[in-house]
């Protein structure tokens, strides 16, 4: 299993862009990078997934360098409602196998 390392916590003011970086030095060729968001007392929710370069959706952007040993989740202009724990997962599942691990995540606190 690919091990991931991300900051335990981050603080940001409302309206700022937030970048959360995840390190995954032993990522395998077929591994994807996925980010989930979890609010207190709720199950995690999928944010974004990518394999290489840049992926953007209506919520966030994901930047993956060519060596794929790290990735950065970018949240534009955060609001108080973005206060949550963000998990970086590296691995793959499907065809009868499951090789993913949720780490401890990054607790993002958005300050007014």
């Amino acid at each position: 299993l690919a091990k991931t390392t991300q900051p335990i916590s981050m603080d940001s003011y409302e309206g700022q862009e937030v970048n959360i970086t995840c390190s995954h030095n032993n990522i395998a060729t077929n591994d994807y990078i996925t980010w989930y968001q979890q609010f207190p007392s709720q199950g995690p929710r999928f944010i974004i997934q990518g394999y290489k370069t840049k992926v953007t959706n209506e919520v966030a952007s994901l930047f993956i360098p060519a060596d794929r040993k790290s990735s950065t989740l970018s949240l534009p202009r955060v609001s108080l409602s973005d206060t949550a724990v963000y998990y970086c997962l590296v691995g793959r599942s499907g065809a009868g196998s499951y090789q993913l691990t949720f780490g401890k995540g990054t607790k993002l606190s958005v300050i007014p």
Binding site: S41, G43, P44, R92, A95, F102
Partner: protein
């Protein structure tokens, strides 16, 4: 669509008692999962299923059993509850997608959780 639902939402057990947690999904997903989450920790996989009638062990399977008799349901059983099993339990489901010739990581849809306390 209700998505993923879990029953019950809360439960208090005494040590040694047994119980079953029910997870149901209406998205026709092949894969289903049970996780536990302890305070300040990420999610740890207990058991998972890649299809009806199949189950597999995850990271922390001891003390739990599961069954997937129907595609839409995934049951988690505790035969003899212990205080160490006090936790929040999340169920999730996903379908397998393949992109560009490589198997992608399936998007998992999570239920609201079951808070279990074992005294």
């Amino acid at each position: 669509n209700a998505g993923v639902t879990q029953t019950p939402k809360f439960r208090v057990l005494k040590t040694g008692q047994s119980m079953t947690l029910l997870c149901a999904q209406d998205m026709n997903h092949e894969y289903m999962y049970w996780y536990r989450q302890d305070p300040g920790m990420g999610l740890r996989l207990i058991h998972y299923s890649v299809g009806e009638g199949t189950t597999a062990k995850g990271e922390v399977p001891d003390g739990y059993n599961v069954s997937r008799l129907k595609k839409q349901n995934f049951l988690l059983g505790l035969e003899s509850a212990a205080p160490s099993q006090t936790s929040v339990y999340f169920c999730a489901s996903s379908y397998s997608a393949e992109r560009s010739g490589r198997l992608s990581t399936d998007t998992q849809y999570f239920g609201p959780g079951t808070r279990l306390t074992v005294l």
